[in-house]
């Protein structure tokens, strides 16, 4: 590591690495600094227990932009996506809902619950795909600022306006609803089956402090139809070797492009001289100069911690304070001696290879949310489980399994007590909830890792434990993300850029923020 680079990237998460790779491919001398001993940030695989490899935080991939996979040639760097087939929802009455990628089978399954819904499911699918096509280009777009007078912004606004205008009447109608409605209100118009609505709407609340009936949650339903793996719509998947393998593939692509990556290199502050970022200072005192600094960590760490509000405009600080993190989810990773046995569908089988969703009904989801609103974690939470070892045996010892449980709601701010004292109680709640559907789970558990929002903050640098580096609510999206006026990857500090999930288009293993930021930085470079 020398002490002078064209660009220093703060954070070796997937966005930081994507950002670095694109900069290096444009001939820049780039250094990536990662605080932890492993690359990947929240997209990381770790051997938490001997022999058991966990996708510790983020656990499925779907939104990784195809252009990034293509341009960085990630398959050659070891990225292999294994399909995650379907979602299995056990119900308390012993019945279940099992949707798979095979449309015809899913249709038959839904017909068991309601013929009407089965028919609606076709219509719904068609409509959503139309919608996804409409929204797709917006993801890799520089968010236009409606308050600006710059031609570039007007061009993008006009582009969106015209696209919307060109939509058929029904798609216009659906788009408006998707952008503004709650997931349940939206789905109520298509379906009558409670468990179907609950399971589908669950995707709308992941990582946000909202309930399935909160307006603005419908939009995320689209993501399921945007997840592209080799261009195939609607499919989700695992990375072979866990989500860390994605980061590693991007890392290797970056290295090949000439990026220097240093781990265990925590940064103390960003050096600013008369309004310009000129480099970073590591916690060990080392100083590194750079023409530009690109931060993939969230705004609170970037500005409040590494720069200090005293060096920032007051209005900007105010907006930073108003930026909502509000982590609402936790993670429980289980090392299992065998496979869980679900009352709703006994024995092993394909239903365990997909996602297993504890979301039996809309009211169940709402009750879970209500508790969080008043500062408790849900007594009966929504849980999204996957057992990657069934698809990718390399992650667990023979015959044994790893199970990853995403849990909502777990509010960062507890009304009573603190997370360090409640961690085990939270873990038990999750196990109890699973046991109601798969009683044998308790006997299978070899070891368990419980991640509370506080742990996500401490260990993974996600402020308030928000997995998306800030809530994905309407007032924090697009040209308002992270804060009004600074949604184009630039910051009030010259030569300092943001390239993490806190920027458009937000969280998830998309890579889009890193890529968009890189393109913006290179454009500015030319102007220099």
């Amino acid at each position: 590591m020398n002490n002078k680079y064209d660009a220093v990237v703060i954070g070796g998460g997937h966005n930081g690495l994507v950002n670095a790779a694109y900069l290096a491919r444009a001939g820049k001398k780039v250094l990536v600094l990662e605080r932890r001993h492993v690359l990947g940030g929240a997209a990381v695989t770790e051997e938490v227990f001997p022999g058991f490899q966990f996708s510790v935080c983020s656990y499925v991939v779907s939104l990784l932009r195809p252009e990034i996979i293509r341009e960085l040639d990630l398959p050659r760097h070891g990225l292999e996506i294994l399909p995650l087939d379907g979602t299995f929802t056990p119900m308390p009455n012993g019945d279940h809902l099992w949707r798979v990628n095979d449309h015809a089978r899913t249709r038959r399954e839904i017909a068991r619950h309601s013929r009407l819904d089965a028919e609606a499911y076709d219509e719904y699918g068609k409509a959503m795909i139309e919608m996804a096509h409409f929204v797709k280009p917006i993801m890799s777009m520089m968010p236009p600022d409606p308050t600006s007078l710059k031609p570039a912004d007007w061009k993008n606004l006009a582009f969106m306006g015209r696209r919307f205008q060109k939509l058929p009447a029904d798609d216009k109608y659906n788009t408006i609803q998707l952008m503004t409605m709650s997931a349940v209100d939206f789905l109520d118009q298509w379906f009558e089956t409670d468990v179907l609505k609950a399971t589908m709407s669950a995707s709308g609340i992941i990582g946000t402090f909202l309930g399935v009936r909160s307006p603005g949650t419908a939009y995320v339903l689209l993501h399921h139809y945007m997840g592209e793996i080799d261009g195939a719509f609607r499919s989700w998947g695992f990375a072979r070797g866990g989500t860390g393998a994605i980061s590693n593939a991007i890392g290797s692509a970056a290295r090949e492009a000439g990026v220097e990556i240093v781990t265990e290199a925590p940064i103390a502050k960003i050096k600013v001289r008369n309004g310009r970022a000129i480099g970073v200072v590591l916690e060990n005192g080392d100083e590194i100069q750079a023409d530009v600094v690109s931060s993939s960590v969230d705004p609170r760490l970037t500005f409040t911690r590494m720069i200090g509000n005293e060096n920032l405009p007051d209005d900007f600080c105010l907006d930073l304070d108003r930026y909502k993190y509000r982590g609402s989810s936790g993670k429980v990773n289980l090392a299992l001696a065998g496979l869980p046995d679900f009352k709703a569908m006994p024995g092993p089988g394909a239903h365990l290879r997909g996602a297993i969703s504890i979301s039996p009904g809309v009211e169940y989801m709402e009750h879970a949310y209500d508790e969080a609103k008043y500062g408790r974690f849900s007594r009966r939470p929504y849980i999204d489980m996957v057992i990657p070892s069934l698809t990718d045996p390399s992650v667990a010892p023979p015959g044994k399994h790893v199970m990853s449980c995403f849990v909502q709601y777990a509010p960062y701010n507890l009304k009573e007590g603190n997370w360090d004292d409640k961690r085990d109680e939270f873990g038990d709640t999750v196990i109890d909830t699973i046991a109601e559907h798969a009683p044998n789970i308790r006997d299978l558990i070899i070891d368990r890792q419980v991640l509370t929002p506080l742990d996500l903050e401490r260990d993974f640098g996600l402020s308030e434990g928000n997995i998306f580096q800030g809530e994905l609510t309407l007032e924090q999206l697009f040209f308002l993300r992270p804060v009004p006026g600074w949604a184009q990857y630039r910051t009030p500090i010259k030569n300092l850029y943001m390239c993490g999930s806190a920027t458009h288009p937000g969280g998830g293993i998309m890579g889009a923020p890193g890529r968009n930021a890189a393109l913006k930085m290179l454009k500015d470079w030319k102007g220099r």
Partner: protein, 529 residues
């Protein structure tokens, strides 16, 4: 034959009638009740006690309409108490928001200096923004597919005004639109009671709690309507019925024919050059066009033959969100109730505006939680007025009437039905009230309970929704009632809408009626009808 038949003699129907008559058209208004007014009526609770049965304060009613139609000449008298709203806390504290900002600041200062300093800026900011949004209220929402030159011009004018605000306020509008009102008030104030009082406007009449996204819209709307985010407490002398009576008088003076006790059963569009409006008693009226002041669902699903409409359109209408959450309790009181922490002598002034019960954001949210599960709140959010304090015509001397809007009482109950739950609802409201006004039960001489079901069956509000449909981002401006049909026209060329189901929505403002009349008159001029 008439030129225009207006179905429904609510305030919007009557306003539309007046403007159409002014435009030289022969107008007939058909009201199914024995008296005009719809949601804005004054009725007798018991001998000598009169009260605004449903809505109790105007939205505020458009000043332009008042002067255009010279309503004061026809007996409209507005009374504006100094107090807009007084919020009550269980510990006997109370916080009054006055029309006068300075006085309010002093009041807030008792709770928090920080909030007191903020309040002025808060009101200014909303007033500034409201002034820019206001023109949109009396604007016909532009067409998205092919905006006309004049629509582009209007939007351009708005765009310029928007720019005039400066970036800071521009971003505020963009941010606040979709924001949860609980977050908005938290950005401004630290006093929980004040937060709750301000947030209340965001949820009133909606199927939403303060933590629901998009509820800040209500405050922006209020600021556009009334120049302040805090709804005023204007009373109409003689109750809201006097407003609609004045409108009816104005209409008749303009040559409008108003027929009460005339319930429309259906509208027949078989003739190409006219519509036929048929009453329950088969009496039939012909006109060049029919205008419905009823809500969109009632209009398209009850009054129109389904064969006249495209099934796809009908399914969209069925999907309109219109699940009411409001119940109304009206009380006749033998004496002015004493409220905790409000000295007897202060009562008449301090209680003259609206009385807000819902001391915390969480309280309001919990009240909403019940609605989600098909129950009515055990501790409801109450918006109360005692109009007799400022209007002696409503109750015998020394006695009073109390009007209570109780939220949340969902139209759909999970267990039981409204017929059987009516009592329990009234109890939960009066019990809640007793916690703040302990002696109230002793002074109640009669109780009137209006459940969401009554709102539907007696007042024709589908789903018991007082705003003719949820006022949320998805049913708003160019999307109200439906995208593509926000210009008061419908898929049927001779049928128009003029009710609160259209832009700018609910509240006693008269704007929907005025906007609709403008569009209809235009179509007449262009020979479309």
């Amino acid at each position: 034959m008439h030129d225009i038949v207006i179905i429904g003699g609510g305030h919007n129907g009557l306003v539309a009638a007046c403007y159409l008559a002014k435009a030289g058209l022969k107008v007939l208004v058909l009201e199914r009740q024995p008296s005009v007014g719809g949601g804005a009526v004054t009725e007798e609770l018991e001998a000598g006690f009169r009260i605004s049965t449903l809505d109790h304060t105007p939205g505020p009613f458009s000043k332009n309409i008042i002067s255009d139609l010279e309503l004061s000449r026809f007996g409209l008298e507005l009374i504006t108490p100094e107090v807009r709203v007084v919020g009550l806390a269980l510990n006997g504290e109370s916080l009054a928001i006055y029309n006068d900002v300075e006085r309010t600041v002093q009041e807030i200062n008792k709770f928090s200096t920080r909030d007191a300093n903020k309040y002025g800026e808060f009101v200014e900011c909303f007033t500034r923004i409201g002034a820019v949004i206001a023109p949109l209220l009396s604007l016909t929402p532009p067409s998205i597919d092919q905006p006309s030159a004049s629509e582009v011009w209007q939007l351009g004018k708005f765009g310029l005004a928007f720019r005039g605000l400066g970036k800071k306020d521009e971003y505020r509008i963009l941010r606040w639109g979709p924001m949860a009102v609980a977050d908005l008030v938290a950005e401004w104030f630290e006093t929980e009671l004040l937060r709750a009082m301000v947030a209340a406007r965001g949820i009133s009449g909606s199927f939403a709690g303060p933590w629901s996204a998009g509820t800040s819209l209500g405050l922006l709307w209020q600021a556009a309507l009334g120049g302040s985010p805090i709804a005023p407490a204007d009373h109409v002398k003689g109750g809201l019925g006097s407003l609609t009576r004045a409108l009816a008088k104005a209409a008749e003076s303009l040559g409008v024919e108003v027929r009460t006790s005339s319930e429309v059963s259906r509208i027949d569009f078989n003739a190409t050059d006219r519509v036929r409006v048929i009453l329950k008693n088969d009496e039939t009226f012909e006109a060049r066009a029919a205008v419905s002041n009823a809500d969109p669902k009632a209009t398209f699903l009850r009054l129109v033959d389904p064969v006249d409409l495209d099934p796809n359109f009908l399914s969209k209408v069925r999907n309109l969100r219109a699940v009411g959450t409001i119940a109304k309790i009206n009380l006749a009181l033998s004496d002015l109730p004493r409220f905790k922490g409000i000295p007897k002598e202060d009562g008449p002034t301090r209680l003259a505006g609206r009385i807000h019960i819902g001391p915390e954001i969480d309280y309001l949210e919990r009240a909403f939680d019940a609605a989600k599960y098909g129950e009515f709140s055990q501790h409801p959010f109450l918006d109360i007025t005692i109009p007799s304090l400022s209007d002696t015509t409503l109750a015998p001397p020394g006695k009073h009437v109390m009007s209570i809007v109780a939220q949340f009482a969902p139209y759909m109950l999970k267990a039981g039905d409204w017929a059987t739950c009516e009592r329990d609802l009234a109890d939960s409201v009066v019990d809640t009230l007793s916690e703040y006004a302990p002696g109230i039960r002793d002074v109640i001489s009669s109780v009137q309970v209006i459940t969401p079901l009554d709102l539907e069956s007696n007042y024709g509000l589908t789903g018991g929704h007082i705003h003719h449909g949820e006022q949320a981002l998805d049913q708003f401006f160019t999307f109200r009632p439906l995208i593509g049909f926000a210009q008061y026209r419908t898929p049927i060329s001779r049928l128009y809408l003029c009710g609160a189901g259209t832009h700018p929505g609910g509240g006693i403002t008269g704007l929907c009626g005025a906007n609709a009349a403008r569009e209809i008159a235009r179509d007449v001029k262009m020979g479309k009808i």
